[in-house]
């Protein structure tokens, strides 16, 4: 089934001092408080993080409830904001693939694909034998997922003690953490181009289409970076 040695090794990766788990936990604390303010029960809040486990998607869901959009509009709004998970999963799964491992592990563990777990794996996968990487990944995913659920519960119960300014302070943590992480990985011209251009084009396309800006901006920036990279190789 799952190799416990590598599973627990993955779990332990989340407790490193500069692990994304800190930003993840504090961000879901804010989500827990937000869900309570929207009128969710504690069971519904846990159920939401348990099943969705994606911060921007949860924010879109919350906004949609406030505005009162149809379920079809909600589906497309969440799908568009979380569509980044598609290239993230494609860029992650080949690193974990091994012929001795069953397919269900990949389809089940893809639920754990989120920025924090993705970054932890990308920083650590080379140290793990390829055969056991998927078990290591399931460990990372389980740890970050449980942190998100636990923080949602904590945020839900502390909502009454968090004022508006504190919630704003918590809300900036996630984008700041990932901004710094992105700057930290900018070590090749291709990654520099994809990250800088993505950061510029995403908001620029917002003026044309707020729903599609992330996808269009990301697609163009990533493609330009790829072309530059291939030219460098050749």
């Amino acid at each position: 089934m799952i190799n416990s040695k590598y599973f627990f090794k993955g779990i332990l990766c989340a407790k490193e001092f500069d692990s994304p788990a800190i930003a993840l936990g504090l961000s879901f604390l804010a989500i827990g408080a937000l869900l309570k303010n929207l009128g969710f029960t504690i069971q519904e809040s846990i159920f939401s993080t348990f099943l969705t486990y994606a911060l921007p998607g949860s924010l879109v869901m919350a906004e949609s409830i406030l505005i009162g959009v149809s379920l079809l509009n909600l589906f497309f709004a969440v799908w568009l904001v979380n569509a980044r998970l598609y290239p993230m999963t494609v860029s992650l799964m080949p690193l974990l693939k091994h012929k001795s491992q069953p397919r269900w592990k990949y389809y089940l563990s893809c639920h754990f694909v989120a920025v924090s777990s993705w970054l932890i794996l990308k920083n650590n996968y080379k140290e793990i034998e390829k055969k056991y990487r998927v078990d290591f990944w399931i460990g990372i995913g389980t740890a970050t997922w449980l942190i998100a659920i636990f923080s949602t519960i904590l945020g839900y119960y502390s909502a009454d003690f968090l004022n508006r300014e504190m919630l704003i302070g918590l809300a900036i943590i996630n984008p700041i953490y990932f901004t710094c992480t992105m700057i930290g990985v900018m070590k090749s011209i291709q990654l520099n181009v994809s990250i800088i251009l993505g950061a510029i084009l995403g908001p620029l396309f917002y003026f044309i289409s707020p729903d599609w800006c992330v996808l269009i901006g990301g697609f163009l920036a990533g493609t330009v970076a790829f072309v530059i990279g291939e030219k460098n190789v050749s």
């Binding site: 009128g39 939401s48 860029s91 080949p94 901004t179």
Partner: protein, 108 residues
């Protein structure tokens, strides 16, 4: 649990899982040493960068109550702290929350 909220959560989770599932499905035919893998790798970083800058410039949720200048100052200070602490991720993250809290308390 209210049936309406449960339905909203199920729709949200389905809309989220579909991208993850399609990613796992597509990756069955992609090897890590191929050109298409490299392309997807750059797409992952660029869409992530696009999303993060969108979250800062056009925020949703609590962050939308803050002003542009506060967010710009916090991002700038966080990057400076990140570089001063030799790429440590914890200090800029925690300081950004404190600075944002203070700026929101005094400027809005």
């Amino acid at each position: 649990m209210s049936a309406n909220i449960v339905l909203i959560i199920v729709i949200t989770s389905l809309a989220t899982y579909i991208s993850r599932f399609l990613g796992a499905f597509t990756s069955e035919i992609i090897d890590e040493n191929t050109k298409i893998y490299r392309w997807f790798n750059y797409l992952a970083y660029s869409t992530l960068a696009a999303l993060i800058s969108r979250m800062i410039i056009f925020p949703a949720g609590a962050l939308s109550d803050s002003n542009y200048l506060s967010r710009f100052i916090v991002v700038l200070l966080a990057i400076i702290i990140f570089k001063l602490t030799r790429n440590n991720l914890v200090y800029p993250t925690l300081f950004s929350a404190i600075i944002m809290f203070l700026l929101s308390s005094f400027t809005i």
